[in-house]
Symmetry: C2
């Protein structure tokens, strides 16, 4: 494991374990160097990582402080489908409708940059959090990259499978979203009525090699699903 990742994880764990309140000052950089026995640059890299993830904030000339904990019940929008571990995770489950191999539609082909005769896995499932309907998801995985999928995998975490079993490294993602009016087709899945609001998110995930492998459209329940994003100017 990389040193700066290790240090970042340890500092974060220390904050959670001791339940340090917002604005608590951490040891200065010199102190952290002594504590973790790594170079200054490594400490700084770890701290910047934590800062970007909303765990701490740093003030030049002053110190390093614990950042506000997130509100409960909100999901991290950026990490809701992969990437770093979220310690405050809520219990989730999936109800899978189908796992099929299909020819992609024009829209899917465009988003995944498919070859002409390429096939994709098409998965339709309902996402549940704490027993409530959270969202209705339709996802497409390029068979060329994710060579095998089944219902059991889709009932658990496809992304864990893709990362750990397929050894695919997830690099980056684009997410597009807006509020929409539910139509007759999708509303029943969420237990809502046509015309009711929803949050529509379209995501494209890329491997570290820059190849798109997953395109998903998720329609989130307007009352059950809420998100947060933390951002930093640095």
């Amino acid at each position: 494991m990389l040193k700066y990742q290790e240090v970042a994880t340890k500092i974060q764990q220390a904050i959670y374990e001791h339940n340090l309140p917002k604005d608590t000052q951490l040891p200065n950089i010199e102190g952290l160097i002594q504590q973790y026995q790594v170079s200054r640059s490594t400490i700084i890299k770890a701290l910047n990582r934590l800062e970007r993830h909303g765990v701490i904030y740093q003030i030049q000339g002053s110190g390093i402080f614990v950042r506000q904990p997130k509100k409960r019940g909100y999901l991290n929008f950026l990490e809701s489908h992969g990437f770093t571990v979220d310690l405050n995770d809520l219990p989730g489950a999936s109800q899978v409708f189908n796992v099929d191999v299909v020819q992609p539609s024009a829209k899917v082909r465009e988003n995944l940059h498919c070859e002409d005769d390429e096939q994709v896995y098409y998965i339709k499932r309902l996402r549940l959090v704490e027993g409530k309907v959270y969202g209705f998801e339709q996802s497409y995985y390029r068979k060329k990259i994710v060579t095998y999928l089944n219902r059991e995998i889709a009932e658990n975490s496809i992304f864990s499978y893709v990362k750990d079993i397929c050894k695919i490294n997830i690099g980056f993602s684009d997410k597009y979203f807006k509020a929409i009016k539910l139509d007759e087709e999708i509303a029943p899945y969420l237990g809502l009525n046509p015309g009711d609001p929803a949050l529509c998110v379209e995501e494209i995930f890329y491997t570290t090699a820059g190849e798109p492998f997953d395109f998903s459209q998720i329609i989130y329940h307007y009352d059950n699903a809420q998100f947060y994003v933390q951002s930093h100017s640095k």
Copy 2:
């Protein structure tokens, strides 16, 4: 200006000016060192910055490549209220209803961590993009930090004023959002009907010193407003 920022800006400009298409390979790090006459670490820092902002992606052992341009008509969700410059910006305007000094409600006090008798500026305005109603915004600024505001400033960019005139350094932000059903009070502002969908965003902005200075609630038009977020595992 910082070197790594300068290098990042120049590389980004080079990409836009030459209109380099997605997946174009850039010069390798050694080449960039020669071109910009800075150290390896500075180049790497600049590249990582660009990578996080979705401008490029890097593949270990292979090279540095141009990332997909964003879809037109979508607003960068993270930069929609400050932070780094977005070159693809659309023309925007504001219709201001009021700029008042008030006693904050309990909710506002809590989000801004106000003292007991503290006052805040309360601004109510309509955000327009390309002539269309984009969102209805109610924002609160701590008078203690942003000491003066008026209608003219609110008609333009409050954030530019806060940064450039007040010399307040914006550090980080929290955003919470979900889809909602419009009520009778707000729907008319957006030219919509009660019960129609909307995207409700609550944002808190902090100074680099970690003090919250702005709490805003923005209700976005479900058809006119759409956003994107780019994310990176690094």
